[in-house]
Subunit: 596 residues, 2 copies
């Protein structure tokens, strides 16, 4: 089966949970009218499902390939990317000034989800380009912006992020690539970068590499990293393409999944030096990178949600088609396996986690828009703190659950799931990179503990918890068994999260290792409690609509049932995470390294 | 790195937890002296790590292949299997009368673990042969035993199980393959069987297919299935190979993992009929199949443990070698990532789950030996009930956790884990079949609920829980923080399991679907509580040894720390499972099929 965009759920989340009306009322976001948003989503859904989704299987069976420094992408990708660019999809969230549509992040987010559901490998190229645009918007000079932005936003050129080196993965302090000033304002770069997504391909005329490197006199560690633009083809003063730059793809990786996305090893400067331009100031490269990494991390979180949605759709479709065994409570012949209770449980688990993660991510996107555009500085500051707290959760939690959801999707298919022709296995393989790249879950958890929780003494976390508590009060007051049941589990989850926040802030000075031993459980705990919070809000909104008698009754009933499933099957893990975090550090750290 | 058999942990479990001395004292098990067992394990470890393990990667890169009905296995497999046969490894647990070593299942179990750790794809061939031997021992005629057993036990021939058909996966009632009596005592079989592991290969001279089929007048459903022996080559009266039988491999599957293991589509009777002999009586085929399925399910559970062990070893090795980032509490240069708390947490999680599952499985194997050989009928009956209760848990829980452990293994490797050359990805792909074949986790859970819990009104489950409670009392009484902490969590786990057993037995009549909606959570809950029980027993035994001052002090300390990790990081999930089972059925079943 093909991909069908879950527009009804997306619209529900945009309108009922993420406050699209409020975002559309922000200065600079006025174009995001309900009509425009609806048209954009409809058209994007059509493009993604009709043009991009059918290429997903091809990418797995006929991966992008390397020969003599050139990368040939999967058949169909080049044409699809040109159609993507021509339709203006690369520009949805980018400035009108440079040819974009200037829509808020909240509107771009479902578009990103749809593109990734359709084809994770394909979507990586626009995602990296988004990151490049973001970095140039933030730290690029006016001249750099004028040279590059319009061409990146139109999709004529694409972008990459060059951080990792063989000895420098999660630890960027170990980056060795060096940059030598040439006296004319340019630098020559020398070094090897690995794991460069779309570092070489045939889908666009030029590739704009953003490269972390070190100047000769730079301080050691991450404080000595600078950020450079190194285009594949140099750009003449008139904007036309000049000489081939000295950056070459020496190989691409043989990966378990996302095989259509070429993962390049790039060699800079083997033939005299790759010419680059400094972005912003020397030694501030990591700071600029972080700006774009926040956006990229959010986007990878969206990949997790997108993949989970696609895996869910496939499994649900199979479960309705596959006839096997009788109904437990009936005596007639064999029935579709969706009537088996455990298949139902698996599908509900996939669905509930996907919907919760979607809701949390869209609400986070709205906070970003408000933080950028709101007239009131106090509101901007609050929403920015909310956004910053959420980014590692959206990235870490959504991608971890995508692995679980894709794995469950294989299980729903039984033996057929293990056969490659069926297609469920591709999601399982593709998903596995998501909790790793753009910062592993542990890196996200370190960020959540260090910069996002400890730095303000837990204030942001506690402010969010107060909002969760307000929702539990509303749920408890509702005249509905389901809403009350959701409220009870959410309250228990909030207790667990509060205990974890107290433990983290209270012990970081005395025993930093004990706190970090529970960092990933803390991230996952925050994910399920805050995802559960959104599902609680969703259930309240659905109950209001049912009471009003407006809209699609069965959709709202399903939303309440799904929220209740999340509350009774996912949220109860909160207490287990609390125990791990608060009581479990000693046993994490008890062994010596040589005892493993 | 290569595989190193965890002999120290195996010996600890055999001796301290599974009662090897008591098993060795059973009538018929006298050969299992400590010296013999030690020699068998040492030699098996050497064979598996030196001969079989190096072929594991090859099997993934150069899968078995099909051409014109013939299957060529991965280079090296044929020779390794001949060496395996010549060394007598196929016969470890089979009767001396037919050339086996006649050792108890408890001794065969670590051998099976080692072979599967070394090479899951390779080990499948002996595993299926074990099943064939088991079925013939149970239900074959004396003549059938004399024709086949010695040759299967020597490894000259191999065996298969033919259950699945395109329309009959988990639901064997749908089997259509038919058998027509020829009047001479033989039958002709016609039909298609799929997913037949080692259904065709080049490693042995003959392949003995055991096939479920229907005679013309058989009742509908599973009560009309009979079991037939259909050899690839007919066997002459003198035991020599006769004509090629009409069973042909028309293709093998393109799978996500265990690629060296050929998964055949077998066509029976396309050229006049495949000649088969009935095993036992007509229409009792499923009953015979169940006998061998119990053994096969246990063996697949061992595959889960074996794969988890291998994935753990690889991840631990990588974590000790990979230098990245500073020690959180130190100020020196970058250190091996094993010093990062979250890497430590991941490794402990892999290790603790693997050790717990191993302990539970070996204890289960011992129960099987006692149930077969003990002089006292009452003891035999009790141990048989214990074994029967445990088999679906060993199968379902150990395989589900193997997927989690293999996934965590990829995560420990970071970006390298996603690159196929690293090898961690193979375990992730291979593991995914384990919760599916030989009965999905849901099928195991149905068995656990229906035949193993409800049928005796929860008596066996409660008897086991009483043993768990006895261990919690011992732990609570120990003068050790660690043992007391383990006891506290185990007691909470036992409470949760007891609530689940009460729910299952109390509601099966009133609401069968509600009970089965929680069947897999019940299986997983039983897994962690009973695995945690074994880890509690292990901690008590280790503490005794430490007090005695005997043996390897650091091993015992590590065992207590690992047991405590299990108690504080895995056992706390018990309460969440309890909630799912006892409170969560409504939301599993709330939606209509068309709402998915």
């Amino acid at each position: 089966m093909s991909y069908r965009a879950p527009l009804q759920d997306m619209q529900f989340v945009l309108n009922e949970l993420a406050g699209l009306d409020k975002v559309g009322a922000l200065p600079g976001c006025e174009d995001a009218t309900p009509e425009t948003v609806d048209a954009v989503l409809q058209e994007n859904a059509r493009f993604c499902s009709e043009v991009v989704a059918p290429l997903n299987v091809n990418g797995d069976r006929e991966p992008s390939s390397w020969k003599d420094g050139e990368v040939t992408t999967t058949r169909g990708f080049r044409q699809a990317f040109q159609a993507y660019a021509q339709a203006g999809w690369q520009g949805v969230q980018h400035p009108v000034e440079f040819g974009g549509q200037g829509l808020p992040k909240l509107v771009a987010t479902p578009c990103i989800e749809m593109l990734n559901s359709a084809n994770l490998s394909f979507a990586l190229c626009p995602m990296l380009t988004d990151g490049t645009i973001e970095a140039l918007m933030t730290a690029g000079s006016r001249a750099q912006q004028e040279t590059y932005l319009a061409r990146l936003i139109s999709g004529a050129w694409t972008g990459t992020m060059n951080l990792t080196e063989p000895q420098a993965g999660s630890d960027l302090a170990l980056v060795r690539t060096r940059a030598e000033p040439q006296g004319d304002g340019t630098y020559k770069l020398f070094g090897t970068k690995i794991f460069i997504t779309y570092g070489e391909h045939d889908m666009a005329a030029n590739i704009v590499h953003l490269v972390l490197a070190r100047t000769a006199d730079a301080p050691a560690g991450v404080k000595g990293l600078s950020l450079f633009i190194v285009p594949k083809f140099l750009v003449n003063a008139d904007g036309s393409l000049g000489a081939r730059n000295d950056v070459h793809c020496v190989s691409i990786e043989h990966k378990m999944g996302i095989k259509a996305s070429p993962t390049a090893v790039l060699q800079f400067g083997d033939h005299g030096g790759a010419i680059g331009n400094l972005i912003g100031e020397e030694n501030r490269g990591l700071e600029y990178m972080f700006i774009m990494m926040n956006a990229a991390r959010f986007a990878v979180g969206m990949q997790g949600i997108a993949l989970a949605e696609r895996a869910y759709q496939k499994a649900a479709h199979f479960a309705k088609e596959r006839i096997q065994s009788r109904d437990l409570a009936g005596s007639a012949g064999p029935v579709a396996i969706i009537h088996q209770p455990d298949v139902r449980r698996m599908l509900m688990s996939m669905r509930a986690q996907t919907e919760a993660a979607r809701a949390l991510a869209y609400v986070t996107a709205a906070a970003h828009d408000i933080a950028l555009h709101h007239a009131d500085a106090q509101v901007r500051q609050e929403q920015d703190a909310f956004y910053e707290y959420m980014v590692p959760i959206v990235k870490g939690w959504s991608t971890e659950l995508s692995v679980d959801v894709a794995s469950t999707g294989v299980q729903v298919h039984g033996g057929m799931g293990f056969i490659e022709e069926t297609g469920a296995a591709q999601y399982y393989r593709d998903a596995r990179i998501l909790p790793i790249y753009e910062g592993t879950t542990a890196i996200q958890a370190n960020d959540l503990v260090g910069r996002k929780t400890v730095r303000d003494g837990g204030a942001t976390a506690k402010a969010i918890l107060a909002q969760v508590r307000a929702t539990t009060v509303q749920l408890a007051a509702a005249e509905s068994d389901s809403l009350q049941a959701i409220g009870r589990q959410l309250a228990l989850g909030a207790d667990a999260l509060e205990a974890a926040v107290d433990y983290v802030t209270g012990n970081i000075k005395a025993d930093i290792k004990a706190v970090f031993a529970g960092s990933v459980p803390y991230l996952k705990l925050a994910g399920i409690v805050l995802g559960g919070w959104q599902m609680g809000r969703a259930a309240l909104a659905a109950a209001r609509r049912l009471q009003d008698g407006q809209g699609d009754k069965r959709f709202y009933q399903a939303k309440i049932a799904t929220a209740r499933f999340f509350a009774e099957h996912i949220l109860p893990q909160s207490a287990a995470y609390r125990t791990e975090i608060v009581e479990g550090a000693g046993s994490v750290l008890a062994l010596d390294a040589d005892q493993f």
